[in-house]
């Protein structure tokens, strides 16, 4: 993406609260107009701090943040024109729902009639048209959430920030809301920067995901890329389920390599971020890419002992002991022709070398 | 075993002791004004009496007034056996039946053999009260404030132009109105005659008006010497004994002006219904005997109520200061002096204090 395309741009941004620890280390990030970008990471990884810097509530210690081509380092939050949805919604409890929505319009000195019309239209959009007179406390969690979204949208900002907006909802409602937010994004074409620690949420909603760890973006790519081609062990482990086998790099050949596991087994894998022979490596394997009784065409063949079977309806989780790792998970699809498995049974397993990523060890 | 023995013997000892107290000696509660004044009573009355009779005195302080006596007597739970009160309070409490009557003929004769009725200064014996001392309200000034020539008359006290500085006055109508009239040229002996007329009252308040802006009001007897010492006022009205003790005891450079002094009595009264009436009466007789009254005068400069005590008054207890000239009753000090007219104040205190309060607030 060329610099001029970037709608939001972090350039060499660093942030420290106490003068000793950098919570954001040299952040460079471009966000395109209309993009849904998620900042994903464990708590303390710096993702919320980035959002707060973008919103203007925290100053960047170093570097620049650009919005639509101009640096906003010295623009106070209320002049940035950014909509924001807060973790606990931050709906004003002393105002009715309609008053909450009217607030951003009133501070913009909009006419009374226009305000009324916009508030009603936005409330209708989130299907809360009849709830304008209620106080936020009289609404359910999901309704409050929608009011919060509506309030961030009502003044038609080009950029909306969302700080773990679904964290307070139960699982079912959360999934429901994910779709709703996604739909709003698609309908309005606004740019959304979304912060969450929930990887499912990130994968479901985002155009691109920035995985944060320790103040650094570990990987910035589409959800699919993130899942299929993690760039390092952290991303591999953080996104989706993942089996880990430890060994030493024996041979490197282009993008392929062989790794000798600690029990002596030799595994063929994709080389991702190991660079030299003799280096320790962790192999990352998605549980659904492993086959029991594998076809000959698969490059890697091992034997495992089944320790536990968990029936999950659409698939069966098989925990087995493979090459000294007894937390090795294999997902077996629940097919009509499935073979019988039992605990303690020895089975042959295998996978393609392209499904096995040789990553760093951390 | 050993412990039980010890306990038993202790119990026996305690019960013996308690029995002894009941059998041989009683305890009475003597209530007075505290500070240097109570100390003088303890030295001159309490200690000798306890030594002579084996009885015990519990000394309590109060701030004057009949309120507590009234409360105790009306509740039928009298814990104060003998109380040192001002004359007007003694008369009022007696009129309201709150006090035991005291037959003056049972008081001991003077050391020179004069009967009590003749030995006590006129007006110091009452139906329910026996005076112990004569005290006075005078005004005093800080010699350092007026190094050349200090004030000498009551008129000087009211002359702020000639003797600049703040004035301390007791918050209340009593004594202040007398002072004002004397300062305005009324002779001491005519003060109450003038004050009995509405014009006289107006005249007194008019005189007070002239210094109203320069007054610091005090309420407790300990305050005036403190106000002088702090430099808050250049002169103040005060109880003569308090000023004397600040000079004799603490070496302050204060000077008393006796002109226009208003002297009054402190009297012993016995609240009605005390369980220790006999013992209280015994103490009253002992403490108002010639020698005790004279002895008290060596601790504080208040004049004894008995004529026969005057000749025995000597020096301050631990310094070479003749007490005679310090007494309110000393002829030199009585040249232009007023005796507080309890009847006048009994009739007019309510009204004049009301007016005084209104005047203060206005």
């Amino acid at each position: 993406m060329a610099a001029s395309d970037a709608f939001v741009r972090f350039e060499k941004v660093q942030k420290s609260y106490d003068g000793e620890i950098l919570v954001v280390k040299d952040l460079n990030l471009d966000i395109a107009k209309g993009e849904f970008l998620t900042m994903l990471g464990p708590s303390g990884s710096g993702k919320t701090t980035c959002l707060m810097m973008l919103a203007g509530f925290e100053p960047a210690t170093n570097g620049d943040i650009y919005l639509d081509g101009t640096s906003i380092n010295h623009v106070p939050p209320h002049k940035r024109g950014i909509g924001m949805v807060f973790q606990n919604y931050a709906l004003f409890p002393h105002m009715s729902v309609a008053e909450n929505l009217a607030f951003p319009l009133q501070v913009r000195n909009m006419g009374q009639a226009e305000i009324k019309e916009k508030v009603q239209r936005t409330l209708d959009m989130v299907e809360l048209g009849a709830f304008g007179d209620r106080r936020p406390a009289q609404l359910s969690g999901g309704q409050q959430q929608r009011v919060a979204v509506a309030r961030a949208l009502v003044f038609e900002p080009d950029l909306i920030l969302m700080d773990e907006p679904l964290g307070a909802l139960d699982k079912q409602l959360r999934e429901q809301m994910q779709y709703e937010i996604k739909h709003i994004h698609e309908q309005l074409g606004v740019t959304v920067v979304y912060v969450t620690h929930d990887q499912t949420e990130a994968l479901t909603m985002s155009d691109r995901v920035a995985v944060f760890e320790d103040g650094v973006i570990q990987q910035l790519s589409t959800p699919q890329e993130l899942y299929e081609n993690p760039k390092n062990a952290f991303v591999a482990q953080f996104i989706g389920e993942n089996n880990r086998l430890l060994g030493v790099v024996e041979k490197i050949k282009g993008n392929n390599c062989t790794v000798k596991l600690d029990d002596g087994t030799i595994i063929k894998a994709d080389r991702v971020n190991v660079s030299s022979v003799g280096e320790r490596s962790s192999l990352s394997l998605r549980p659904e890419r492993i086959e029991i009784d594998p076809p000959k065409s698969m490059e890697n063949h091992l034997t495992g002992v089944i320790r536990e079977l968990i029936y999950l309806g659409d698939h069966i989780r098989v925990r087995m002991d493979v090459a000294g790792n007894d937390e090795f998970i294999v997902k077996v699809r629940n097919r009509a022709d499935k073979r019988d498995l039992s605990e303690g049974q020895k089975v042959k397993i295998g996978w393609k070398s392209s499904d096995c990523k040789a990553l760093d060890v951390r | 075993m050993k412990l039980t023995k010890l306990l038993a013997s202790t119990l026996v000892g305690v019960s013996l002791l308690a029995g002894a107290t009941v059998a041989n000696a009683g305890e009475i509660t003597v209530v007075s004004w505290g500070g240097a004044y109570t100390k003088s009573q303890v030295e001159a009355y309490h200690k000798p009496w306890m030594a002579a009779t084996g009885n015990v005195i519990k000394s309590e302080d109060y701030n004057g007034g009949v309120a507590e006596i009234k409360a105790q007597v009306e509740a039928g739970n009298v814990s104060w056996d003998i109380v040192d009160v001002e004359l007007s309070d003694a008369i009022r409490a007696c009129d309201e039946g709150l006090l035991e009557t005291i037959d003056a003929s049972t008081l001991p004769a003077g050391a020179d053999g004069t009967s009590a009725q003749d030995d006590f200064i006129e007006g110091t014996l009452h139906d329910c009260a026996v005076a112990s001392i004569v005290w006075s309200t005078i005004f005093a000034y800080d010699k350092e404030k007026f190094p050349d020539a200090g004030p000498t008359t009551m008129a000087d006290f009211f002359n702020v132009a000639k003797f600049p500085g703040k004035r301390g006055l007791r918050k209340g109508a009593k004594v202040n109105l007398e002072f004002a009239l004397i300062a305005d040229g009324v002779l001491a002996k005519d003060v109450y005659e003038v004050l009995a007329t509405p014009e006289g009252v107006d005249r007194a308040f008019k005189k007070l008006d002239t210094i109203k802006g320069d007054v610091v009001w005090w309420e407790a007897g300990a305050q005036p010497p403190q106000l002088l010492a702090d430099g808050e006022v250049s002169m103040t009205t005060a109880y003569n004994g308090r000023i004397f003790n600040a000079v004799a005891g603490e070496g302050k450079a204060f000077e008393i002006v006796w002109d226009g002094q208003v002297w009054d009595l402190d009297l012993w009264v016995i609240p009605k219904g005390t369980k220790n009436k006999e013992l209280a009466m015994e103490f009253l007789k002992f403490s108002t005997a010639t020698e005790q009254l004279a002895a008290q005068a060596s601790y504080i400069s208040y004049g004894p109520a008995r004529k026969s005590s005057s000749s025995l008054v000597g020096k301050y207890h631990n310094k070479d200061i003749d007490m005679g000239p310090e007494m309110p009753t000393n002829p030199d000090n009585l040249k232009n002096a007023v005796q507080n007219n309890f009847n006048f104040w009994a009739d007019n205190a309510d009204q004049l204090n009301e007016r005084f309060n209104a005047w203060l607030a206005g």
Binding site: P77, H94, V107, Q176 | D95, E96, K166, D347, R355, A358
Partner: protein, 444 residues
Amino acid sequence: MRISIHFREPNHMTSTTLDQKDISDASADALIMVDGVPLKQKLAETTKKQRSRALLLTVPLVLFLVISFVIPIGQMLFRSVHNPAGSNVLPNFAIAIQDWDGKGYPSEAMFELFVKDMQNARKKREIGKTVGNLATRMNYTIPGTRSLFTSTSRKLSKVTEGPYKEALFKIDKKWENKVIWRNLKRVSRDYTIAFYLAALDHKFDDDGDIIAADKLYQIYVSNFFKTLKLSAIITFLCLLIAFPVSYLLSILPLRTSNLLMILVLLPFWTSLLVRTTAWIAILQTQGILNNILVSIGLVSDDGRIQMIYNQTGTIIAMVHILLPFMILPLFSVMKTIPPSYMRAARSMGATPFTAYRRVYFPLTLPGIAAGTLLVFILAIGYYITPALVGGEDGLLISNLIAYHIKSSLNWSLGAALGTILLVTVLVLYWVYNKLVGIDKLSFG
């Protein structure tokens, strides 16, 4: 923007809340239990035992309140209108005199009863029923009559036969004054509003009509207003100082704010007298503050500022003493306001001031309401501090009440003043409730 989005979410959430309400409203009365007892009755039965046990737990508190609060206040109310000195001291005369029409003198029979009653009272010297009690009561009505009663009582022992009227006039010519007898008739009634009149700077004139007291003696009404004014000033200053402090406390990290909170509460652990005395040491003309001002040349040695023993002193000392009562409710309310509200407001385009005015400030109102009410009511009844540092013009109504309870012993007037103060506070409370709503208060 013109779009419509259809949610797949079933609408149960929005509709059930309404439906449930409708159902409960409409059909609760009709619900019958399986054993045929209506639901409400059944519920009452089952909770009755629980409730009576809970009630039992409050018995000590209720008893305590009755003994220490209800009874004394009831007594105060009673005493402010009930003063039986007349009928106590002169039981027979008090009844007889009521037949007198107030013209001329009472009848000889009434005079006889008066003398007999007076002699009796002197002989019996019963507590609360002595001539002195009557004299005190009469002196409130006609100043200067106390000694007339007490001295007459002493001389009356010699009067054994009539005509009693002449005998009295012989003892003291003042008895010829008809005003005394007219007032005596009024004093002989046990119930009177005279003390309320006095407390409102009014009195009965000689004909029994209500008139304003002489201007020179008017003090209470103006003092009530002064007390209200000073309390309002003190409350306002407390709010002014406490608001930023509480705000700071609420946003600081817990450890720092705890430390600061201890500093705020420190005054609570120091004796009130010590604190007030400390203010005297600081504020008096030769005190620390004036010394500093003189030493830095801000004021001359002769021009030291009078900061104590006046209203200024009262205000300073009381603001200091009452400050924690403002800070605590404010702090507890501010603590619960998440910083995200302000951020939300600013993200929506509000300037810091607008965000503060429209969002933060309204949310602190319950704390402000509680704090101001608390401080105002405490200030209006404050007594010791104005007594010590108030000087001549810093005295509040409670000081006058204390004066009548402790010094002048005019308890009835003290009670009347106290009752008026109580009613004033209740009225203010009621107005406040109308304006703010007590249920909105938050004391933390």
